[in-house]
């Protein structure tokens, strides 16, 4: 018993680390409705600034801390609010989540561009020592704390107490909570919601900055990924606090730390149980809490009671097309695909062919996001995991049963679909952010429990997947494989298309429009969503198996790391979650954009090399552009792309399509004015010109038809 107590005490400092991050997350969620997965990235910004001024420029402690925490932190919050979240206040939780994912992808790369990518070893503590362990208290005792732990524990307690006072006893705290409930209502009451939202963001970013500087010395060198890892571990604590209670979140964080320490001490250290459970503990706890923690499940996404007063979203481009244009677009798509195939076969060298093939295969995986998010209206953060399941299954089936690789890829897809269906059953009761978190927990559990196992991933040596031979065609030849990949993409695309147009797709459309109304005509939400989940997982599994086959091995780290799952969602949603071509384009873009940028960034360097007589200033400027930046810039573009989601939830591709269609139709209108067809009349987008569709002779009020999303009172 004493021993358990000792272990528990040892867990408290780490528990406070979880608690500090979790409290920051809960605060942001409470005051802005954004589940800010980029919180760790924000923390990283302040940590890097503190590192630079304190260590590189040797500032004294106080000014350095003030700059990093009190200036940079809130400033970043101000910026985020002004540029982004202010415009998102009335958006749904999905839009907010996608935006924060975009930031998560973009911010670290921006920091890298600004401060260089050299490793930043030994981050300085927020204390008058160079390393946390240079100040110990009480020295020599059994439970000694170092400077980092003392500051973290104190800061956590002060923050929790401070926030308690803020929310309980100040008018500002009350307003902050009100703004989340209904920004419009608040405005009607004469409160300036914009100002309150701004203060909220500055406060939560201040907290992010504080966490960043405080926690940085935990790491041997600064990396945004470490902050994110710590943050996802802390998610369990936010779930414990039901995403709303700060004291409960604190308790949750500490309990998590304590539980971790007790398991570390009590489970036999090299047992299978310890191997699986200990690293996965935070995610297992998160998953379990999401499913079973009373009060969390009923805490539905807050819907603004006045949301209905917004003008309805513009209809999809497809619905404003005339038949002529539809045929035209399809013909265009077919032509482009044919040209692509010919290019791939005849023109591209093995480098570009390899990239394009990877992109085509990723397009298959991206289609799985079209199904789950575009059709199903759900955000899943574990699509990379389904792809991995497909890949591992393919490898195992080929290896142990000697099955044909092509068949094995489909077996992999079926297994992934089955896992998807099984996962769907418990998690489908969750909505919005909660569903996203549950799928993230699943991805992390898979990564920390299953992937290290020999029989799953092959351990140290990735499982080999040979290339298939179909009749006389040996697909070891890259061009042949490219054609296979394109064919399977076409197959998957066609499947998604017919399902989208078929009963399942229509039912999902209906459910997305209004779940209650859909149920009231007899549509089973569970059934439709389980199908969507399974189909999505199956398509991801298909893509995963194909990717493994293309690369010759099922390499988890290269292709299926959970973080890719997040980036892919960002990409697809940005390009347009509803359309098949957007999925294909984002698959290709993921591989091609960094390479194009690389080529672009090589130009200045080459120019400098070729023109030795350039003025020094010009040369200096040109030299700042380095090809190494390409990946970072690509990720920044991907991330910023997601930020457009708020304005164009239907995606960039769709917006462009619509703009192009409008132009085409405008031109047609001008030429065909003499013989207007009824089709073009219908085709005019209603949001453009509410008075125009004059088929109804009533004097009409502005269309206040309420559709979409959240439940009835």
């Amino acid at each position: 018993m004493i021993e358990i107590l000792e272990l528990a005490v040892r867990g408290v400092p780490t528990g406070c680390v979880f608690a500090l991050l979790a409290v920051g997350l809960v605060l942001t969620y409470k005051t802005s409705g954004v589940f800010n997965l980029a919180f760790g990235a924000q923390a990283y910004v302040s940590a890097v600034v503190f590192y630079e001024v304190r260590k590189e420029h040797e500032w004294p402690l106080l000014p350095a801390a003030l700059l990093a925490i009190v200036v940079i932190g809130p400033l970043l919050g101000l910026l985020l609010d002004r540029v982004l979240f202010r415009h998102l206040r009335t958006s749904g939780s999905v839009a907010k989540l996608v935006t924060s994912l975009g930031l998560l992808v973009a911010i670290p790369e921006l920091v890298r561009l600004a401060f260089g990518s050299e490793s930043k070893k030994n981050p300085p503590p927020l204390w008058y020592v160079e390393r946390t362990d240079q100040w110990l208290w009480p020295e020599g005792s059994r439970f000694v704390l170092d400077a980092g732990q003392v500051t973290t524990i104190l800061a956590t307690l002060v923050v929790v107490a401070g926030l308690g006072v803020l929310f309980r006893s100040t008018a500002l705290g009350l307003r902050m909570r009100a703004v989340v409930e209904s920004p419009r209502m608040v405005e009607l009451n004469g409160i300036n919601a914009e100002r309150v939202s701004m203060v909220s963001w500055m406060l939560s970013s201040f907290l992010a900055g504080l966490s960043g500087v405080l926690l940085a010395p935990l790491f041997a060198s600064l990396s945004p990924f470490d902050f994110f890892t710590l943050l996802v571990a802390a998610l369990a604590a936010t779930a414990f606090g039901r995403l709303s209670s700060i004291p409960l979140t604190l308790l949750g964080g500490i309990l998590l730390g304590v539980l971790q320490a007790i398991l570390a001490g009590k489970l036999p250290t090299d047992s299978i149980l310890a191997n699986g459970l200990r690293p996965a503990l935070p995610f297992v706890v998160l998953f379990a809490l999401l499913l079973f923690w009373p009060g969390l499940r009923s805490a539905r996404d807050a819907a603004d009671p006045l949301a209905g007063v917004d003008p309805p979203p513009p209809p999809a481009a497809a619905s404003i097309r005339t038949r002529f244009l539809t045929v035209g677009t399809r013909a265009f798509a077919v032509t482009v695909s044919a040209i692509g195939l010919l290019l791939g076969w005849f023109v591209l060298d093995s480098f570009w062919l390899g990239l394009v093939t990877s992109g085509v295969i990723l397009g298959v995986i991206m289609l799985s996001i079209t199904v789950i998010t575009g059709m199903g209206g759900m955000i899943s953060l574990c699509q990379a995991t389904f792809a991995a399941i497909g890949a591992f299954t393919t490898a195992r089936v080929v290896d142990s049963l000697g099955m044909s690789v092509i068949v094995a890829i489909f077996v992999g897809a079926v297994v992934a679909a089955a896992v998807g269906g099984l996962l769907a059953l418990p998690v489908l009761r969750l909505e919005g952010v909660y569903l996203a978190l549950a799928t993230l927990a699943f991805a992390l559990m898979f990564q920390s429990v299953m992937v290290p196992l020999d029989w799953v991933s092959g351990g140290t040596t990735p499982l080999r997947v040979p290339r298939p031979v179909i009749g006389p065609v040996d697909l070891a030849e890259n061009r042949a494989f490219f054609v296979l990949a394109a064919a399977l993409l076409a197959l998957a695309g066609a499947l998604v298309y017919v399902v989208k147009r078929g009963t399942t797709g229509r039912f999902l459309d209906a459910l997305r429009g209004s779940e209650y109304a859909a149920a009231s005509v007899g549509i089973s939400a569970t059934r439709a969503k389980v199908i969507a989940f399974s189909l999505s997982a199956g398509i991801a599994g298909l893509g995963g198996g194909l990717l493994a086959c293309f690369y010759g091995a099922a390499n988890y780290d290269q292709s299926f790391n959970f973080f890719y799952g997040l980036v892919w969602v960002v990409l697809v949603v940005t390009a347009g979650a509803r359309s098949v071509q957007a999925a294909v384009i984002s698959g290709l873009g993921f591989f091609l954009i960094p390479e194009f940028l690389q080529r672009l960034f090589e130009i200045p360097g080459r120019y400098v090399a070729d023109h030795p007589d350039l003025p020094a200033a010009v040369e200096a400027v040109l030299r700042t552009i380095k090809p190494e930046y390409s990946l970072g810039v690509a990720f920044i573009l991907f991330g910023f792309g997601a930020l457009t989601y708020a304005k164009h939830p239907e995606g960039i591709i769709e917006v462009q399509t619509r703009a192009a269609l409008r132009k085409v139709m405008g031109a047609l209108d001008r030429t065909d004015r003499s013989q207007p067809t009824p089709a073009t009349d219908d085709a005019r987008p209603p949001d453009e010109d509410p008075a125009a569709p004059a088929t109804d002779d009533d004097a009409r009020r502005p269309a206040p038809v309420r559709t979409g999303g959240a439940g009835v009172p």
Binding site: V144, T269, D349, G354
Partner: protein, 433 residues
């Protein structure tokens, strides 16, 4: 790209040590060019130059300075070219590709399709997915062997892939070095920590087996082992308190810098009196940064440490050229240098009418490649797919914030054990003879 597990790359480095190979062989070919130039029909070879290109994870989440490997190669090429080149041609490093961790295969394709290279070097990548392509195309390839793809098997020998000191990777090989060093440090109970990541925990398994095998002779046993740490853990307080309880007085690990630093801090905090053996800790920048934390710790190298007394010729040349070219002396630049050295030696041995196959064959005939004393000696007839018969490494100790070779003698930096023999003190050697 934010990858998690590639960070284990650093972990793997130490495994090379126990696996590099050795046997005696005469030194071939001297420096200087007086051979005649013969027309050669090989990719990437023109009348005036031999083109090579490399790929590294220049953009990587670990802050690893892998681009330094290019500098090592460049310095070696400069040395050869100033000396008149080879077979009447200059060596040029035409491509330094960045695979950004995830696009290794594509970059390898680009080296072959766009850069028109004769050989690929250096390869310093966290994931080596282009290996298959290089094997299939039979391109002489040289690089940093932290990836399992370097290693050949009987069915698939991968004879054209050359690591800096052998290509065989053995994550859980047994080696007498752990029990021996513990015994030397006057310790009796060893603590081992590792992540629950395949490479890391297999490495810990190797250490455990080694101690079980030779430990009894040395009076050394495993006092504590934990292979379930989550990657990048920030708290080892429970583990260290358990080590303390178990009376551990010698600690070793299969973890990255993050784990090593966290461990050292916790050991200091809890005042655990134990010697630390940080196999992959030979990095001056780390010692500069963390100073006293690693004082008196042991580190391991597969090459002659830069601080060796009476430096072997190969080391002297390396240090001299690092200074001349203004390159940091580090394991990364050394790896590039070693890659280039082996390639050049292979070219020389292949003769003036060389081609890819001849270079590969020439290298695979070498039975004691030691880069002029920089290495202990690699037997390339077996170093692709078998562990060496001997274990040969150098050990240094952190003293006053610098590395000090220990157990060595002037001019003899390496310690040599037979792999399959009862535990005894190693032979102190300049190389395998």
């Amino acid at each position: 790209m934010r990858l998690r597990v590639p960070a284990c790359a650093a972990v793997l480095l130490l495994l090379m040590v126990a696996c590099s190979n050795s046997e005696s062989a005469p030194r071939t070919a001297a420096r200087g060019e007086d051979e005649e130039k013969v027309a050669v029909d090989a990719p990437g070879v023109t009348d005036s130059e031999i083109r090579v290109g490399g790929v590294a994870s220049i953009t990587n989440p670990l802050g690893g300075e892998y681009a330094d490997m290019f500098r090592g190669v460049e310095a070696y090429f400069q040395m050869v070219n100033e000396d008149g080149g080879i077979h009447g041609r200059e060596l040029t490093l035409v491509a330094e590709r960045d695979d950004k961790v995830a696009s290794n295969n594509a970059q390898v394709q680009a080296l072959l399709a766009q850069d028109d290279v004769f050989a690929v070097l250096p390869v310093a990548t966290l994931l080596f997915t282009g290996a298959d392509t290089l094997v299939e195309r039979n391109v002489p390839t040289f690089g940093w062997t932290i990836n399992p793809e370097w290693q050949g098997t009987e069915e698939e020998p991968k004879e054209n892939l050359f690591g800096q000191a052998g290509s065989y990777l053995c994550f859980d090989c047994e080696a007498p070095i752990w029990p021996w060093l513990a015994q030397e440090a006057g310790a009796s109970k060893v603590g081992v920590i590792a992540y629950n990541v395949a490479q890391s925990s297999e490495c810990a398994e190797g250490i455990r087996k080694s101690i079980e095998r030779w430990g009894p002779e040395a009076g050394v046993e495993v006092g504590f082992i934990d292979t379930s740490l989550s990657f990048g853990t920030t708290d080892l307080s429970v583990q260290v308190s358990q080590m303390k309880e178990a009376g551990v007085d010698f600690i070793t690990s299969c973890v990255d810098l993050q784990g090593v630093v966290t461990l050292a801090k916790e050991v200091k905090k809890q005042n655990l009196d134990a010697t630390q053996f940080i196999p992959n800790g030979y990095d001056q920048s780390v010692v500069d940064e963390f100073g006293d934390l690693f004082e008196d710790s042991y580190v391991l190298t597969f090459f002659a440490p830069f601080e060796t007394e009476e430096k072997p010729e190969g080391l002297q040349t390396y240090l001299e050229w690092m200074e001349r070219t203004g390159t940091t002396k580090s394991e990364n630049s050394l790896n590039g240098w070693l890659n280039a050295a082996l390639f050049v030696q292979g070219l020389r041995d292949a003769g003036p009418d060389f081609n890819r196959q001849k270079v590969i064959d020439a290298i695979n005939k070498m039975t004691n490649w030691d880069a002029n004393g920089l290495l202990c000696g690699v037997d390339w007839t077996s170093a692709h797919d078998q562990p060496s018969e001997n274990v040969c490494s150098a050990i240094s100790k952190v003293t006053d914030g610098a590395f000090e070779p220990v157990f060595a003698e002037p001019g003899k930096p390496f310690l040599l054990w037979e792999r399959d023999a009862p535990l005894k003190d190693p032979e102190v050697v300049a190389g395998v003879d």
